[in-house]
């Protein structure tokens, strides 16, 4: 039975908005020109490729359903499990179900903790027992491990090379058709970066992703690539599941923040007077309360509400999801002030421009002017703020979950992983892999988001882009 959680609905809404604005941009030359500049940026496109990989994983993880219950002996199979799963869970079934007893190191065949076992001769001994799933197919782990691992890595690499070549072939074929040249010529152009869109960066990033992903996928079939955590869950599975949480926080929070920031910022700047005063007082007040305190207070109140109404939620996943959504809104409501201030300032400037005055001379209404003239002319600021905020919000989730006011403890996220890693680091011998895995994935995600937002800012910021346009215009005029 498919289930659409609240955050899923909003994620789909966002995608619909994305597609819609794609069509909108396609019809407007000046917007298209800016996006083409984003497409020319190599770093930006490489980052976008990485982000796309994350987004695909996140989307797979947003297709939720409740599996049909297996017919238990004597009872007809007419119910659904109370557990909500996603398409990603189904794909990663071996990882999800292959739980161990407790910690195990990456690619290990034995547990990380000693256990007292009863030997066949009746005596007891404290040994590192074999894992139930990691390397279970090996007869003699000591002998076979290295060979098996290298074989799997080689297979993964071979698969990666194959997949990479397929992608490259598709790209070259498309390019060859487009320019009407042969394959070698098309390949040369792509490789040398003579294309307007940074195809070579995309293909190179894709190659790196495949070369890393192929072996991991191959190894994941027989081992816990990033080890297991305290209750024996596969850490790779946890990190992959964390991606959705990060993306949801990063995007839906902006969705919650934008209406406040855009509407209040433009209204304050355009109307001025007492409206401006009220809005300014509102955001200065909000700004002067320590952010974490405000968020903590809101989260704790929300938690109480959720806990006192268990009947609202059919499943625990829905409850955790409600908490995630609420966190997004709380973050959104407390973080709109910065963008609002920027937009107010920009509107103050635009309001005095001649074309706005010309519209006033036509007797156009204030809402009409704000919608037709001001909003389109501040959209670049909104866009830049949104992509720049994304990485900040992903990090904010980690911090909030770490101090215990973030997502529901049952929701897998980078923050909760880092939070549990606190104890693991204090333990002897140290368990480092959860922290490293969470850190590495989050780092790559945030780095990609930052690089991409840099590219977007370079293309849209009139102070940077304007210089380029001015140079071009000067060249044409001179």
């Amino acid at each position: 039975m498919p289930i659409i959680l609240w955050t899923d609905a909003l994620v789909f809404l966002l995608i619909a908005c994305g597609i819609g604005s794609g069509f909108y941009i396609g019809r407007r030359e000046y917007l298209l020109a800016s996006w083409r500049r984003v497409g020319e940026s190599r770093a930006g496109m490489a980052a976008l490729t990485v982000l796309a990989a994350f987004i695909v994983l996140g989307l797979l993880d947003s297709l939720h359903y409740r599996p049909r219950l297996e017919a238990v002996a004597g009872q007809p199979a007419n119910g659904y499990s109370s557990e909500v799963r996603s398409a990603l869970d189904a794909l990663l079934l071996p990882l999800r179900s292959g739980t161990e007893k407790t910690y195990s190191a990456p690619l290990a065949t034995h547990l990380y903790a000693r256990e007292t076992v009863e030997l066949p001769d009746g005596t007891q001994a404290r040994v590192f027992p074999r894992l139930r799933h990691g390397g279970a197919h090996l007869q003699d782990p000591v002998e076979e491990w290295a060979r098996d691992v290298s074989w799997k890595v080689a297979r993964g690499l071979a698969f990666a090379v194959l997949a990479g070549l397929t992608f490259a072939a598709i790209a070259v074929q498309a390019a060859a058709l487009r320019w009407g040249v042969g394959w070698p010529a098309a390949w040369r152009r792509i490789r040398r970066g003579e294309t307007q869109f940074a195809w070579n960066a995309v293909l190179a990033t894709l190659a790196v992703l495949l070369l890393l992903g192929g072996p991991v996928a191959a190894l994941a079939g027989g081992y816990h690539v990033f080890g297991t955590d305290k209750v024996g869950q596969d850490v790779l599975y946890l990190t992959l599941k964390s991606i959705r949480t990060g993306l949801v926080i990063g995007t839906i929070t902006t969705l919650a923040m934008l209406p406040f920031a855009v509407a209040l910022g433009i209204v304050a700047g355009y109307l001025g007077g007492w409206v401006d005063d009220v809005i300014q007082y509102l955001y200065t007040t909000l700004n002067s309360i320590p952010g974490v305190l405000l968020i903590a207070a809101s989260v704790l109140m929300m938690q109480v509400v959720i806990d006192t109404h268990p009947d609202w939620f059919a499943t625990s996943a829905q409850r955790a999801d409600a908490r995630l959504l609420a966190l997004c809104f709380i973050l959104g409501v407390t973080s709109w002030t910065g963008l609002c201030r920027l937009l107010r300032a920009e509107t103050l400037k635009l309001r005095e421009l001649d074309y706005v005055q010309a519209a006033q001379a036509f007797g156009a209404s204030a809402t009409g002017i704000m919608g037709r003239h001001i909003l389109p002319n501040v959209m670049h600021i909104v866009l830049i703020a949104v992509v720049m905020d994304f990485s900040g919000l992903v990090l904010a989730e980690a911090v909030l979950s770490y101090i215990g006011i973030g997502v529901d403890p049952s929701t897998i996220s980078f923050g909760t992983m880092i939070n549990t890693a606190r104890l693991e680091l204090a333990r002897e011998p140290v368990v480092w892999w959860s922290l490293v895995a969470a850190f590495a994935f989050m780092f790559v995600l945030v780095l990609a988001a930052n690089l991409f937002s840099d590219a977007v800012r370079d293309a849209f910021d009139p102070r940077i882009a304007g210089r380029r346009i001015a140079a071009t215009a000067q060249g044409q005029a001179a």
Binding site: Y355, A358, A359, P376, A471, A477, A478
Partner: protein, 671 residues
Amino acid sequence: MSLLRVEGLRTCLLSAAGIVRAVDDVSFDVEAGETFALLGESGCGKSMTALSLMRLLPDAGSIVGGQVLLDGRDLLALSEAEMRDVRGREMAMIFQEPATSLNPVLSVGRQIVEVLERHTPMQGTAARRRALELVDAVGIPDPARRLDEFPFQLSGGMKQRVMIAMALAGDPRLLIADEPTTALDVTIQAQVLGLLGQLQRDRNMGMLLISHDLGIVSQLAQRVGVMYAGELVEVAARGAFFASPKHPYTHKLFAALPRPERRGGTLETIPGSVPPLTTIFSGCRFAERCPRAWARCREEVPAWHVASDGHAVRCHLYDPEQAGESGRHRAAASVAPFSTDTGATSPPAGAPLLEVADLKMHFPIRKGVFQRVAGQVKAVDGVSLRLTLGRTLALVGESGCGKTTAGKAILQLLRPTGGSVRFEGEELTALPPARLRALRADMQIVFQDPYGSLDPRMRVGDIIEEGMAALDTASGRAARDRRIDELLERVGLSAGMRGRYPHEFSGGQRQRIAIARALAVAPRLLVCDEPTSALDVSVQAQILNLLKELQASLGLAYLFITHNIAVVEYLAHEIAVMYLGRIVERGTVEEILQDPKHPYTEALLSAVPRLDAEGQRPVIVLKGDMPSPANPPAGCHFHPRCPRVMPQCARAYPAETLLGGARSVRCFLYE
């Protein structure tokens, strides 16, 4: 040997569109004690020439050929460290915009001393003493106090004087002045031009003056070079140049100038625009726009032809071998028709369309925590005007006198503080917003800045449609579309341009779009707020022609707000001169231009640089700057600057003296 000799200078800029040859084979000399003027429209490479001489090109630019000899020393061969000694010490530069050329966080004294300490052995107090002398020499009153002030405390004219003082600090032999007065008002411009001329004579400096204004060039220069599309096309001594310009481009420039004797006729325009400098020219660069071009012009690059008096021109017309051919062309051109339309615009009788009485626009100055009103900026303080259909009233004044505010207050874009504005007898100031909206179709506005007045995010068609949609003047999509096409054709653009965005158009074309937008709702009153001041002369002529033609065919009334007297002379029927929020003199254009009564009008008219420098009345240079409207002087606002001030002027503001007809003046001299 000449002080500066530029030989075959070539400068290229890298841009997305390709290599821009901004300066292409430019050669000229500047003698010590001589002013050489580079004249040309924007985008002709004048400023790039100056920056190349200073070796201050932008990163994308580089000098690819030629020599720049200053006293025989090749500047292009110097190292950057040596060049730093040349800049400021041997040649100095004054830029166009004084507001951005000074560092806002350092006192002006500090900035002058910095130059002195860098280029002269003077240090500390000696340098400061010298700075004081310099500031005094450029005519800044109370120099000791001004030295410790910051740029924001000085007016534009003062800042330009400080810039000049800084340029003089190193005692340079050559001064490069890049449009030194373009950002200044006419009366301040007169002060600065006078100062530059005098300093140059006193110090026997060479000066390279860069300007687009023929008047300024005629006033200051001894020799003139005309630049077009990156190259010099004509070089001559001032007298010969103004008496008989030779190159067709120069001819056109002169013909495009609005002048009183051309009233009623149309101004000459140059078709097309300056070609992009990325093109590789195979013939004369001006051939495409030249009315006298023939096949040879497109095939062969013209050589320099030097007449006996040193008047050099780069045009096939003056090729001796071409005598027969060019004679024919010259003859054809010399009958350049100029329609001297004598059908003098007779004042149509009838009720006034617009009647403004005692209009006041005050802005409160708020201070303190509680925002108490501490004073008033009286931007417009009792302005009265009358305007009938088919007539043009010019509202003339310098920046800050409140003329734009007055225009906006008349249109009710700003709600006036007091007074009355009657449009066809209907009182606008008391009208409820809904009724006012209905009247908006009758009065429209055209703005100064063609780049700021069109929304960059909207297509041209949508921009023009906006007014029709807001005021619902043409109902139905199809009717509106037809009207948009019609309007675009009407203002000299094509209907096919409606799908384009404003950035694809040049300044002149944008101004046409802005006019089409205003016309879309069929107004009867058009407020033109300096519609041509951001445009080149030839483009200005196109817009003025268009405005004049529209007035003749549609019977529009124009309220023309401007500081450009030449445009007023050409276009206006009546003039109102404004000073510090009040109208000091009113009358018909002939009355005021022939016989200005108010001392301010007199000074304003005399300060306009004229081409016929010999026949010009002496320039009345006003002292100081316009006072702030927040704190106007007691009595007559003009009395602190007035050359004919009397004791009673400081006591009360003079009442309006009617001098017959529509003529009136507010000055005690005529009471």
